[in-house]
Symmetry: C2
Subunit: 501 residues, 2 copies
Amino acid sequence: MQKEFEDKLKAFKAYMQDIEYLSSALSALYWDARVCSPKNGLHFRGEVLGFLSSEMYKRQTSSKMESFIDYFQSLKEADEITKAMTDRARREYERSMLIPKERYRAYVVAVSDSEAAWELAKDEANYSLFRPHLAKLLAFNREFIEYWGYEDSKYDKLLDYYEPGMTVEKLDTLFTELKKAVITLLDRIKSSPKKIDNTFLRNDYPIDVQRRLCDCVLKRMGYDLDAGRVDVSVHPFTVTLGNNDVRITTHYYSKEFQSALFSCIHEGGHAIYEQNISEKLTGTMLKTGASMGIHESQSRLYENILGRSRAFWTSFYPETQEVFPQFKDVSLDDFYRGINAVQPSLIRIEADELTYSLHIIIRYELEKAIFDGGVSAEELPALWNEKYREYLGIEPQNDAEGILQDMHWSSGNFGYFPSYALGNLYGAQFFHTLKKDMPDIAQRIVKGDFSSLNDWLKSHIHQHGAVYLPEELVKKVTGEELTVKYFIDYLNNKYSDIYGF
Amino acid sequence: MQKEFEDKLKAFKAYMQDIEYLSSALSALYWDARVCSPKNGLHFRGEVLGFLSSEMYKRQTSSKMESFIDYFQSLKEADEITKAMTDRARREYERSMLIPKERYRAYVVAVSDSEAAWELAKDEANYSLFRPHLAKLLAFNREFIEYWGYEDSKYDKLLDYYEPGMTVEKLDTLFTELKKAVITLLDRIKSSPKKIDNTFLRNDYPIDVQRRLCDCVLKRMGYDLDAGRVDVSVHPFTVTLGNNDVRITTHYYSKEFQSALFSCIHEGGHAIYEQNISEKLTGTMLKTGASMGIHESQSRLYENILGRSRAFWTSFYPETQEVFPQFKDVSLDDFYRGINAVQPSLIRIEADELTYSLHIIIRYELEKAIFDGGVSAEELPALWNEKYREYLGIEPQNDAEGILQDMHWSSGNFGYFPSYALGNLYGAQFFHTLKKDMPDIAQRIVKGDFSSLNDWLKSHIHQHGAVYLPEELVKKVTGEELTVKYFIDYLNNKYSDIYGF
């Protein structure tokens, strides 16, 4: 019995390893398409991605896979990792096998074309260039939801993919409370007599100097550049190409100090998570984040809770002033308040930490309207603009600063956006626990010591990869279920300090 | 019967198309490993390459492939392309199926490790870091030759891979005549009273200016940058990642004018060939060069016959002088003689056009000694140095400028080097025919018109891809079999003009 188990496990791991190799090739070709490919090569690249995805799909839905799942599910004595690996394979199996192979392959080609169309459409601020592609992807996803079947909400099926166990019902509860708290705080800030001047953040910042500062910050944070690299793409992203190869991208704007730097810190957070997952998980398909929400908890913890903290800038401000003399006469306190100023704006990735959640809630409500309310690609821009007017009091002047700003939908990632807001909630809850274990964390950051922080995150979260489901992980790390409480406390403390109420 | 043929052909092409997709993914990951990968990611990348190669191997040696080959070989009425596609598949099938799958997979991993070791060894000018890897690759290749079987010469089996139909016997004849002619010319040049001063080619050439000049030359030559890109790697190379995606690399040296520019023109020649192959050949595995020798004929035709011609520089010299003021007082004539000066040297890729062939003949003789004479990795550096002393009268001072200078062996490309010298022969023979069709070609180049040249090459050579075997192609284009005559005539004319004898 033990011998049979070991042989089967070895075979299962070898089988999963091949799927990981395919996944690595797909990630590398994806990265290349976004960062390097000459434009005329993108169509053929889409076909290659389609082929490799269908090879992966074949393996994830084969009768061999089915028999591995059956065997390991029936065992009582399997260890934690084998169980998690089997569960994950089963989820993929059930999700994939219900989609006819040719439809899935066609979908991957459509996604690749859509991504290229989106880049062009965004450049030209012209939604109509992207609309037919988006309509096609929506139709594919609606078709897939029918294959999978659903209970109360169609959108649940998409949410569950990025955040296992997440539902419209749970999100409605969390987001209602969050929206209320954010809007209350926003009102207090608007009526506060204290106004923050952060015009010093819009000036001339030579791109090569920005690049050097970003590299320096990333390195000090703990991002390993011997196992990663930083490139430029239209929209920043992180991708793992394989063991010891986790790459990030950013986008430099010569007139904006914050954009590239904070996107680097954000993506760096994702990358440190990936770089710190235990190598033991190679060949299990668990060498990845626990969920997109947990992934975002790491990126947003680095970007906001750390990257926009007084402690962080006490450490980095002197050298920032050195390379950017325009900050010479700006005090650390003014700088700190400047990067935390609240100002409703149109672009999600440039939003302040407070209004950011409203950008996500808008996208969540739109996706719910698409999949549970039958809203079409044609109706979206008007709805988008309406919600921006209603929640943030401002309206896009063109599609590039409106509905075309994010690449997610062009890649078919419907149901992803809520992860960012969940990331804020998870992140604040994790950090609350971390502070209990390490009350002097702020002093350590002031000294430029990120290793205690990284060690804590690695041992409690990173190393485990996807061994635990998000709800198990949160419970395990913090002893509680997910709650909005810690994030709202964090926001209240931070902004009452900054705006003095 | 016709219906059956069409159905089978459709299925065969779909099958070959998948092999092309795998080949495209392999090329992309190879390019990335050389140009982008962080160093710690290279080992896992090797495993991914091993996996994809073995997937390709599986398809090339499947019983399905065998039955396609059997079916199409038995047909009399098959068209030229179907025949060529079947022949090529059969060659690959016979070559691959004799190697045990696991041995081949292990070989691909060994190659990837060897390439990484070579880079390090070259950096440190330390052959002993590379030797065990080379020994391993030699052992693999010797083992493979035994699987394949051989008649007179083991080395023939390696030559035939890059140059179908080529043998040690034929090369001995061609290279003996070539060696004699080159050495005779070299002696006349050495004893000529005319000495050429080209010290103006070693000065300070800012790398960003070099880069702009290279891009400009490549664009004007006809390299399509919307379907390609130029990057930096240790050793320049060209790779086709798929339709409309043919990339080249180079290496800039701030003190050398010639190195990056002529390597760009060389790789640009390869790339123009690949970019001009008919799209009709997609999914036939014939959308590639006819052979490595034919490929080199295009790169060397651009690099030398054109790139080092008076006509070429009449066109490009004014703008070169503009961006590099150090040439202000150098006349076009002196510049032309300077870039054609003959001076025995150690580095193949920086050799002048005349002594270049001796670098190749040395490598050819060493490879023959390895595979037919049983010479070991340990003995190679001494033999290398000895031959340089004997043929060129100079000797490497360290391994980096000796045996470690080329990456070919680190990639397991034994039998490749002769292609470069064959390229010279094919190229001169093709150009001789082109000049008969287009006697005013020099005047066209002077005017910066490369399109008549490219059109001729495209219609006679490029578009056909690998539909014809090299010997068929040479016969078809020039009406003759391959001969050294035209290359020797070309060299005699060129150097008697430059050195005035």
